[in-house]
């Protein structure tokens, strides 16, 4: 088990009139090698939750274990935590600060105390991973396009070679082609053996890539399970302002019309297959 959270609660500004409960006895597990999706609105507590994943917040009520390390324990080595869990925040391009792309990417690994040679190797590797051309290494990150900047920022976290990568809305604000490329990039990173936790608003995106979903609502985990299990709650999800993928909606609609579509289909290829089974190579008649 790579991440294990039990009954984690978080209260903002306790004891003041602004007191607000951001997390309410949340429990969740992320298995080694999984691609997990966390879905919820602004204010659902998801950003607070992910800051616990690498010790930016220390658990006061509840426990957070990452690869057996207790993140609530002040004795736990922060560097070891940061080596294990990489965190990419929303709009990560706004954290770039160095003169060159290579120097910016080197910031993380240097902080881990690695020697120059190893840092250099990791920078080259990370740039390669996110598809940044080596010729960009000496450029200023501020001269790049928005999408490229975001890749630099992600490379900066990848260069710390985390076993678990947590991304908060990695595709936000990109154009459709940019979104697609970003999600494929994350899928590639996953395939290289990194456990992925992706926070997203888009049910279509998490449906396509994740194998396990957690739906957060007002600090509680409202639903969890495989995408099929979660999407089965279509109406309830709609009530908390979330949607299910279009194909899952169509499957539900067709079932109402008497089509024989198995429960739990949400991928386009599966739904298309079921429709073809119903209609045959229809229309030819």
């Amino acid at each position: 088990m790579s991440i294990e959270i039990k009954k984690l609660s978080h209260v903002y500004m306790p004891g003041t009139p602004f007191e607000a409960r951001a997390l309410n006895e949340v429990s969740l597990n992320v298995a080694d090698g999984a691609f997990v999706g966390i879905i919820g609105h602004t204010g659902s507590g998801k950003s607070t939750l992910i800051s616990y994943f690498n010790g930016l917040e220390r658990a006061r009520t509840g426990v957070v274990f990452v690869n057996g390390m207790d993140l609530g324990d002040k004795e736990t080595d922060l560097i070891a935590i940061r080596r294990t869990v990489g965190l990419v925040f929303q709009y990560p391009e706004y954290q770039l600060f160095e003169e060159t792309v290579a120097k910016d990417i080197a910031f993380g690994p240097t902080n881990l105390g690695l020697d120059a040679e190893e840092v250099e190797r990791r920078v080259v590797h990370a740039m390669n991973q996110v598809g940044l051309d080596a010729s960009r290494a000496k450029k200023s990150p501020f001269d790049l396009s928005g999408g490229q900047k975001r890749r630099v920022a992600i490379a900066g976290v990848l260069a710390m070679e985390p076993q678990i990568l947590v991304l908060d809305e990695p595709a936000a604000g990109l154009d459709p082609a940019g979104r697609q490329e970003m999600l494929e990039l994350i899928e590639d990173i996953h395939r290289s053996g990194v456990t992925i936790v992706m926070v997203s608003h888009s049910m279509d995106d998490v449906g396509k890539y994740c194998d396990r979903l957690f739906v957060l609502s007002h600090g509680d985990i409202a639903y969890q399970g495989t995408p099929a299990e979660v999407f089965a709650h279509g109406d309830a999800l709609h009530a908390i302002g979330l949607d299910v993928p279009e194909c899952a909606k169509l499957a539900a609609r067709l079932r109402q019309e008497g089509f024989d579509i198995p429960e739990g289909l949400y991928r386009m290829e599966d739904v298309a297959g079921a429709i073809i089974d119903n209609i045959g190579k229809g229309g030819k008649a």
Binding site: H41, T42, G43, S145, G146, G147, A172, G173, L174, D175, P176, A177, G178, Q180, H201, D204, G241, L242, D243, P245, E246, C247, K249, L250, R253, L254, E257, F259, M268, E269, V271, A272, I275, I276, N278, I279, G280, K281, G282, G283, K284, A285
Partner: protein, 280 residues
């Protein structure tokens, strides 16, 4: 012809630092009362076009007239901005004051309007966007969607004929996004305000009267959403996406299921499939 509220003829614009035109020989007519969506990948010139409509930029070639006025002098620009309001992408960077209603008054104050009249217009505008109860709140306490509604109210109070939304939903969550989009549609239908809606979200564009797809500073496609999206390969090659149901339709057609290729949403797909089934 006389109903064009925005008319761009062979308009070009090049930034001082630019190597090529950001908008290049573009001709476009927008009718009064239309809801037009503008799509295109990042850097295709849509934001530049938006700023040309609002006289925040003046064309370096060709001409653009907005509400019958071609901006030449600074005073003209001012008149154009009165008739063509603009809502930007980042809700945090377009609210000027620390109190919602004062921000809403900002444009009217700049126009030198009588205080009593400003008060009336501000109250009306806040009511129109459903933010009356937040009139005395600080913008810092509002959600992204609420901030965008305040920004809309600030523009609305100036009673523009046209409102340009430059990716105004890009930074919002799905609820805020739906909210702001619905508000724009309502203003279009009920108040007759012409809307230019720049977006990356296909499901929004699918609901517009007309879609303009830009590429390299020019117009690549211009048609009804249904016609635009049914040219799936072309649209994908322009770095855009098409509605999921249209992709499904293509997949089904490839397997011999003869659904129409211009299906836009779940409902249309369900109806088409039911018809096919009854034929068999």
């Amino acid at each position: 012809m006389s109903n064009a509220i925005i008319e761009a003829r062979d308009v070009s614009f090049r930034y001082e630092s630019g190597l090529s035109d950001a908008v290049s020989h573009l001709t476009l007519r927008i009718e009064a009362g239309e809801f037009v969506a503008i799509l295109g990948r990042n850097g295709c010139g849509k934001s530049t076009l938006a700023k040309l409509m609002n006289a925040l930029l003046l064309p370096t070639g060709g001409e653009i007239s907005v509400n019958g006025l071609q901006a030449k002098t600074e005073d003209d620009c001012y008149e154009v901005r009165k008739s063509c309001g603009m809502v930007f992408q980042n809700p945090d960077n377009q609210i000027v004051t620390t109190i919602v209603e004062e921000d809403c008054a900002f444009g009217l104050e700049n126009m030198g309007m009588e205080p009593a009249l400003i008060r009336k217009r501000v109250d009306e505008a806040l009511a129109a966007v459903g933010m009356s109860e937040y009139a005395h709140a600080s913008p810092a306490m509002l959600s992204g969607g609420q901030k965008q509604r305040v920004a809309v109210a600030g523009v609305l109070a100036m009673r523009p004929k046209i409102i340009v939304f430059d990716e105004s939903t890009a930074m919002l969550d799905p609820v805020g996004r739906r909210d702001v989009f619905a508000l724009a549609r309502q203003l279009n239908r009920e108040e007759g305000i012409t809307i230019v809606w720049i977006t990356h979200f296909m499901e929004e564009a699918a609901q517009a009267d007309r879609v303009v797809v830009m590429d390299g500073g020019r117009i690549a496609i211009e048609d009804s959403p249904r016609h635009v999206f049914s040219r799936m390969d072309r649209v994908l090659s322009l770095g855009l996406d098409v509605p999921e149901m249209m992709k499904l339709a293509a997949r089904l057609r490839a397997s011999g299921v003869r659904v129409p290729k211009d299906i836009m949403n779940v409902e249309e797909m369900a109806v088409a499939l039911c018809q096919l089934r009854s034929k068999n």
